[in-house]
Amino acid sequence: MSAPLGKDLLGLEHLSAEQITLILDTAEPLREISERAIKKVPTLRGATVVNLFFEASTRTRISFEFAEKRLSADTVNVATAASSVTKGETLVDTAKNLEAMRIDMVVIRHASSGAAQFLAERIESNVINAGDGTHEHPTQGLLDLLTLRQRFGSLAGRRVCIVGDVLHSRVARSNIWGLTKLGAEVAVCGPRSLLPTAIGDFGVTIFDRVEQAIEWADALNVLRLQLERMTAGYIPSLREYNRVFGISRERLERAPRDIVIMHPGPINRGVELDSEVADGPHSVILDQVTNGVAVRMAVLYLLAGHAPALAEAAKGGER
């Protein structure tokens, strides 16, 4: 019944439904640790984890750091602006040098899709992808799955619509993989300029109007609209975007059922999501943040115990 994860967590695409369920089932009891007076268990005592962030991140990095510390791992944060990466060192050189100092795990965030896998194939340490380009952000996908599973009991047959900039979103990709593997129905909704042209290959429904999505969905995962998308000409203006695709109380009130509202943060209030909705009774945005720590603890725990012989098998084929 146990399905080991292997050496690395690079994305949800190559995980089986059993492996995803194992992570969620492990995360569930780990939530309790953060409620204790002493928020720490000795599980990863003596393990060293490096958080290697080549791209700005507050929430994800802090969440990983809490997860590592609550499992008693020693942590080091490397941010690119203050590292020798600015002196032109390559990704592999940076990681090899860290490995020479006897680290055990690397959490990597990088602007290039595939950076995590590139690193995983070249170093012995466990690698956890904390977001690579527009490819995947698996721990965000997992925390979204956990939050929805807590709300609905099971994801089978539930309808989840991802709203907004799907084209540039690694969160959207990890969500689509994870949700479909666990049996949910997935749709996307957004301006055509912000949907990938090959979105049909994912087997998801496409809504051009947000009203249709609201009519259909049990939950909306509202993506952050990167402000630079406007200057790049993907959308005419933020106001225009809010008027056509923004999730407002008025729009939700016309829904045939209560819709769970998720957002990976940080929110552009008044652009993709109105404040009334973000802070409203159907928002689970802060549950997502709480679950993020538990899910990351689960991944750290499960990977640190990987059986080397199984690592290759679980990694999924080369693409």
Partner: protein, 183 residues
Amino acid sequence: MANAPTVVLNARALERTVARMADEIVERADGAESLALVGIQRRGVQLADRLARLIAEREGAAVPRGALDITLYRDDLQTVGPRPIVGKTVIPWEIDGKTVCIVDDVLYTGRTIRAALDELADFGRPARIMLAVLVDRGGRELPIHADVVGRTIDVPKGGRVDVLVSELDGRDEVTMVIAGEET
């Protein structure tokens, strides 16, 4: 060459043993006032539930109950793989100042109890910690002993004791295999 399991306690005997343990726990704790029971996942939890029910009946006092999963405190996590499944830990009351009785099904090496003591310490500072086990099979690897024991049997290394409880296994029974294969 796995031998057939021998029944150590049948359902009736198990019921009597648990009833006696309930009395002994209260006696040892000098009453039920500040007593609390914490069962170790998994079968210790059901035993703790039964003990709490019996104590409540006999003493007319509600006894707080909790569940402890010691997986994250195991001392062999570096060597076992794949990772053991993590269960739920639930202690929804203050443990400071209480007499906490840890309840487990089988006491063997003592390593589980060592882990349980470490975990309890992360919840606070009980006035006292006791240990009640249904079966003490010997074979200790740490200086740990039980305060209340249901049945003592000597099962050499390689043997096995299985506690079945109706809540999880459909029936109440304790069996042992003396020279079974290592599992």
